[in-house]
């Protein structure tokens, strides 16, 4: 249904535009400015064209970080989304236990990122951490600050622990909206549990699931705080994801130009993927309507 067309409404949007201008566009333009200039200090800049972009595009270091990033995002999404769906399906539909489950499930979401990092940093330490010590005591060679595999596993487990809840909550909301008549009809049709999932629950969850996937993609692709606190990007560069690398480049090495070019490209990649997600999502909605 079309709403009233009222051109004056644009004035209402103006404050937001100004605010967004100050908070997002202007800083972004600064970055754009840096990305096409070089400086030898003294606030003297000279244009270098697209040199920085070319450098970043051919930088092996960035390629490696991108590879790690893609691998990380793929792994955590491959775990969190099915796991989230599974947990949502197992949760009680109503009653006191439904509320209890919801509260427990949401707890990890309420903890600040750096605290999550700190918790896991201590929790997984082999000397004083409950988890780390136990695993080491079981005779498994585990040390996240020395061993690449251990570091990866710890970060992935940490992310799954922190974010699966989000997927669970969204899926649970999707499931709750399915009228009971559908389950009744499935019983009458003698549909198997798998068929109920495949033909009733999954189609009805599709919308929220795409939102969940989008959110998880964006968040995990930009992940910084938790691995930074936990491993600092180590051992070596084993857990240096794109954001961590960017910060190292910009602040650690003060390569402002390349860092600016890098961050612009980083931004565009996320924007592109999100846009693809959004288009797919709205097409699915259209089909439904």
């Amino acid at each position: 249904m079309k709403k009233t067309v009222n051109q004056k409404a644009w004035f209402l949007v103006l404050p937001v535009l100004l605010l967004v201008g100050f908070s997002a566009v202007i800083p972004l333009m600064t970055v754009v400015n840096y990305s096409i200039q070089d400086t030898f200090g003294n606030n003297q800049f000279f244009p270098v064209g697209l040199e920085w972009f070319e450098e970043i595009l051919h930088s092996e270091r960035i390629h490696d970080a991108l590879g790690r990033q893609v691998l990380f995002t793929s792994i955590i999404m491959a775990i969190e989304i099915p796991l989230g769906i599974y947990i949502a399906l197992q949760m009680p539909k109503s009653g006191i236990w439904a509320s209890v489950c919801l509260v427990l499930i949401s707890l990890p979401l309420l903890i600040p990122w750096n605290v999550v990092g700190t918790i896991w940093q201590i929790f997984a330490r082999t000397d004083i951490g409950l988890l780390g010590h136990t695993v080491a005591a079981m005779g498994i060679d585990y040390n996240y600050s020395q061993d690449i595999l251990s570091a990866w596993i710890t970060i992935i487990v940490m992310d799954v622990w922190h974010w699966t809840s989000l997927v669970v909550l969204l899926c649970y909301a999707g499931l709750q909206s399915i009228p009971s008549a559908y389950y009744q009809a499935a019983k009458i049709d003698q549909a198997s549990r798998w068929n109920v999932f495949r033909y009733i629950e999954l189609p009805k969850m599709m919308g929220v699931l795409l939102i969940a996937a989008l959110l998880r993609f964006m968040d995990s692709f930009m992940i910084y705080t938790e691995p930074m606190v936990l491993t600092g990007g180590g051992p070596g560069n084993a857990t240096t994801f794109l954001s961590i690398d960017l910060v190292k480049m910009a602040i650690g090495q003060f390569d402002l130009g390349p860092a600016a070019a890098f961050s612009l490209m980083y931004f565009l990649v996320i924007l592109l993927v999100s846009w693809v997600f959004f288009t797919v999502m709205s097409n699915i909605d259209k089909e439904e309507g």
Binding site: A181, Q184, A185, I188, Q190, Y199
Partner: protein
């Protein structure tokens, strides 16, 4: 297909029901004949949905038993009862095509492909969806979706019963005719036991061989549409069936003489030993308007032209009376008296029908 027996069946949502009020469904003994079409008719909250849910197995009754043929299924799950159900809102599998929707119940039961193809083709022809068989169910209109729900209910030949829970609620009037006729034709063809729950008298009467009228958790009357129309067992049935319902008027009776609105009328039957509150019931269809001096004088308040007849809204003292007049009758100013067909009069004692003796 099966005969369904309800034996001392009652249901209460309260733990220890004490009075009748605590029962959503009061004690009921009834046998649903194999292959007949029934309607469960009543206002919302009358217990008709509870009864349907007990038959389908969603609700386990707190008292009594339910049998399919001679097998006790009181505690059996819906899946094991081998019934079909069509819901108020269309329940279709959105991501499947129409054909896959119709095949689904049969595939799940491991029927062979040839049988499935032949069955689906025949149902698709019956419900007239052959031209959309390969479309996704998602994009269809409400009435097309409801057709598919009906089709999925009909596709199994061996179901014990097909239950309909107000399936025409979301359908436009002109489509109701089509769906109802298709349903009726399918019933004649396939002879399934069908139970149709509704609050709409037209749906109930036109669909069913026998209508079960319910009110506040109780079955008030079970009968053919004609019986319900001509001999309502309770004033509620008289009121609920017919549009407008039966006129229920206070009356004093001795023998075959009745005193109605200060006028004396002669009944066709003799009544004796009546003690409770007496009422006379007469359908608007059996009343006529006539000239002054030919009947009981009434005050006409409004005449409604309703398609092929007119409803005359009238008053006597403070009592509303409805009279139905045929389309071709011209109502003049002087037509302000009413008479009625005495052979169609029913007498009620404490709201229940009483029969007199033939004179």
């Amino acid at each position: 297909m099966a005969r369904i027996t309800l034996s001392k069946l009652a249901h209460s949502y309260v733990k220890d029901p004490k009075s009748d009020k605590d029962y959503a469904l009061r004690e009921l003994n009834h046998e649903w004949e194999d292959g007949a079409a029934y309607a469960l008719l009543g206002p919302s909250g009358c217990g008709k949905s509870t009864l349907l849910n007990i038959i389908s197995g969603i609700v386990t009754p707190s008292h009594g038993r339910i049998l399919f043929d001679d097998i006790d299924v009181t505690f059996e799950d819906t899946t094991d009862r081998n019934i079909a159900q069509v819901f108020q809102f269309p329940v279709v599998y959105d991501t499947m095509t129409v054909q896959q929707n119709l095949e689904f119940p049969l595939k799940n039961r491991g029927k062979d492909a040839k049988y499935i193809a032949q069955r689906v083709a025949s149902i698709a022809r019956s419900i007239q969806v052959e031209d959309i068989l390969h479309k996704k169910a998602r994009g269809l209109s409400a009435d097309q979706k409801q057709k598919i729900s009906l089709g999925r209910g009909m596709v199994r030949e061996d179901v014990n019963a097909i239950l309909f829970d107000e399936p025409l609620t979301v359908i436009d009037p002109h489509m109701k005719w089509e769906l109802r006729t298709q349903l009726k034709a399918l019933h004649k063809e396939l002879k399934h036991t069908m139970i149709f729950v509704t609050h709409d008298q037209t749906e109930a009467l036109t669909f069913a061989d026998k209508v079960v009228v319910m009110n506040v958790g109780e079955v008030v009357q079970i009968g053919t549409p004609q019986e319900l129309f001509e001999k309502p067992a309770h004033t509620f049935v008289g009121y609920f069936i017919g549009s407008p319902g039966m006129n229920i008027l206070d009356v004093e009776i001795s023998g075959n003489q009745a005193k109605l609105f200060d006028a004396n009328v002669e009944l066709t039957q003799n009544y004796s030993g009546l003690k409770g509150k007496l009422e006379l019931g007469i359908r608007p269809e059996f009343m006529t308007l006539c000239e002054e001096g030919q009947g009981i004088k009434i005050e006409i308040t409004r005449i409604e032209d309703v398609a092929h007849h007119k409803i005359v809204r009238a008053r006597y003292d403070n009592k509303d009376i409805n009279i139905i007049v045929q389309e071709d009758v011209v109502i003049t100013k002087t037509m302000n008296n009413m008479t009625f067909d005495m052979s169609k009069v029913n007498i009620y004692e404490n709201s229940w029908l009483v029969e007199g003796e033939k004179i």
